[in-house]
Subunit: 328 residues, 2 copies
């Protein structure tokens, strides 16, 4: 089967690029120095490949991701890096060695009631999202221990740093964030300082493990940062119509995460996306029926729309992996 045989739109990853990204990351952050975040690809087959490259611990954003990894035999060391209130659903994870992020009395209570073994204290390091203030981390760790939970350490995601294009500034913001995290760590104890993302994978020298996910597939937003990872993921689409000065392909809002803006197309300018279409100005002649690559701006919400990830070696399709960790 070849690329040209795929029904469009189809989510495709280029094998050579994928392997380059995996190899490059494993060289920089071998083994447990990386805790790959599966939210970026939601695919157990790809997680198995990450394990083949030496990474045995995984990071998840949802209960379904964690449960799916465990059921697939990848549950050796899981971190659910998210706050959960619903102890009944959280209890689905109690038979596996899962560590869960907590940042409040209620999330600690939910973890304890769910029968979860361990927690990390999630610390706000500058991104206005989950995480307690650093000065409350010690108190929460005490409460967690009182509730019978093992406190494995801290986590704090410098999400406000990872996308900064200027490398020096990115490093500066990352360091400042990690200083906050280390203050909390001093009060909390444990062995884990979990942080980082693809944008800070080689800048964050303070975390014991980096939670990068996008590096495997990459997107046009991260591509601007000059990282050693390349865009492996594209949506394969068919040009279905030609207008005066523009062309239309069958890949739209339901095949692409749009929060980072329009996708890109080689030698073309994208005008806008509709539900099932992308309208673009081609920089070279295109014809109706021609297949093109549409590069997503944001990998995570793009993958979440698709049932399957096709793996291409050049023009040849060599694998079809279910995106089996979708939903919640």
């Amino acid at each position: 089967m070849f690329l040209g045989d795929l029904a469009t739109p189809a989510l495709v990853a280029d094998w050579a690029t994928l392997e380059h990204n995996l190899r490059t990351m494993a060289a920089h952050l071998p083994g447990s120095r990386l805790r790959p975040h599966v939210k970026a690809h939601k695919c157990t087959a790809l997680a198995k490949l990450q394990r083949d490259f030496g990474h045995h611990a995984f990071c998840c954003a949802t209960i379904r991701e964690a449960e799916g990894l465990a059921v697939a035999g990848l549950g050796e060391d899981l971190l659910l890096a998210n706050e959960v209130i619903d102890h009944e659903r959280l209890a689905r994870l109690r038979h596996w060695p899962v560590v869960v992020a907590v940042d409040s009395e209620l999330t600690i209570a939910a973890a304890a009631r769910a029968g979860i073994v361990g927690v990390l204290i999630d610390v706000n390091v500058g991104l206005p999202r989950c995480g307690c203030p650093p000065e409350q981390a010690g108190r929460l760790a005490d409460r967690a221990r009182q509730a019978g939970l093992e406190v494995a350490g801290v986590m704090g995601y410098e999400g406000h740093a990872v996308g900064i294009e200027d490398r020096a500034l990115r490093q500066e913001v990352c360091e400042e964030a990690m200083q906050r995290l280390l203050v909390a760590y001093g009060e909390v104890g444990g062995t884990i300082v979990s942080a980082g993302g693809t944008g800070t994978f080689d800048l964050n020298r303070w975390a014991t493990e980096i939670q990068a996910g996008s590096y495997v597939l990459m997107d046009s937003q991260y591509a601007k940062l000059g990282l050693p990872f390349h865009q492996a993921l594209f949506v394969w689409a068919t040009v279905v119509s030609l207008g005066e000065g523009y062309a239309v392909a069958d890949c739209g809002l339901k095949a692409l995460g749009m929060d980072h803006g329009n996708p890109t197309i080689d030698e073309a300018q994208v005008l806008f996306c509709s539900d099932e279409h992308v309208t673009f100005v081609p920089g070279r002649p295109v014809r109706v029926g021609e297949k093109i690559k549409v590069w997503p701006a944001h990998v995570d919400p793009t993958v979440a729309y698709h049932e399957r990830l096709w793996i291409a070696e050049g023009e040849r399709i060599v694998e079809a992996w279910p995106i089996d960790l979708r939903g919640w």
Copy 2:
């Protein structure tokens, strides 16, 4: 089962509002005057409800939507309002009375080769997307007839008009677009002039049928237009964390179509969305564990992320409908 029992994030429609929207539209555009566009909800259970309100003809954007409707017993009169080149997949629809949009020699050839019975000539009426120039419509109709296809009429979507907030201007742009479509219709013949959307449902007096879809569920983008339809659709989410001056709920980029911007939350200002979170400034005290309604900005790509649509009568959950027409 009650709203409070749903695992979050969950896609929910309020029954009373849904029924109001269906009733209001059926009163304005009874029976075949409306061809409901299922791309907005991708749900055969909801399409059956539209049929109960008198609409027997449906509009689709994908082969899967058309095939799914037909298999569900809703294939009496289907329009695939989209260009398809892949004749092998299109042939899946050849046993049902499906009319397919065409705008080029190649789309006509694909329809003929697929064994499709009828086509509509898709005309560009001002939106830079699919559709031939009006002056080419007659020639394409001739080609379609030569290829053995029945030409049922024309379609032309005034997508550049439907979202204009000023009603008079919306009407003006709609009329201009429909003049282009009627010119083409004069050359093409047939019985169908298919056009329109929720924003022009009562302004478009030229089309024989209106292809509205969003009116059933609605979103915050369409809500600005002062239409007689109300927002029925929300994502039910749990507040999982509180920061200094902000709160975080468990509904993010993978639960929301983001091309029209951030969702809205009553009595709050939304700051930003992450993969699994929305960060917002509440205008009243909220607590961790509290459930809230998150109103999507764009209904179609929001629904496409979810497996199930829950129907709520007040606080009571009365139905759970599979979003069974997702994918392609």
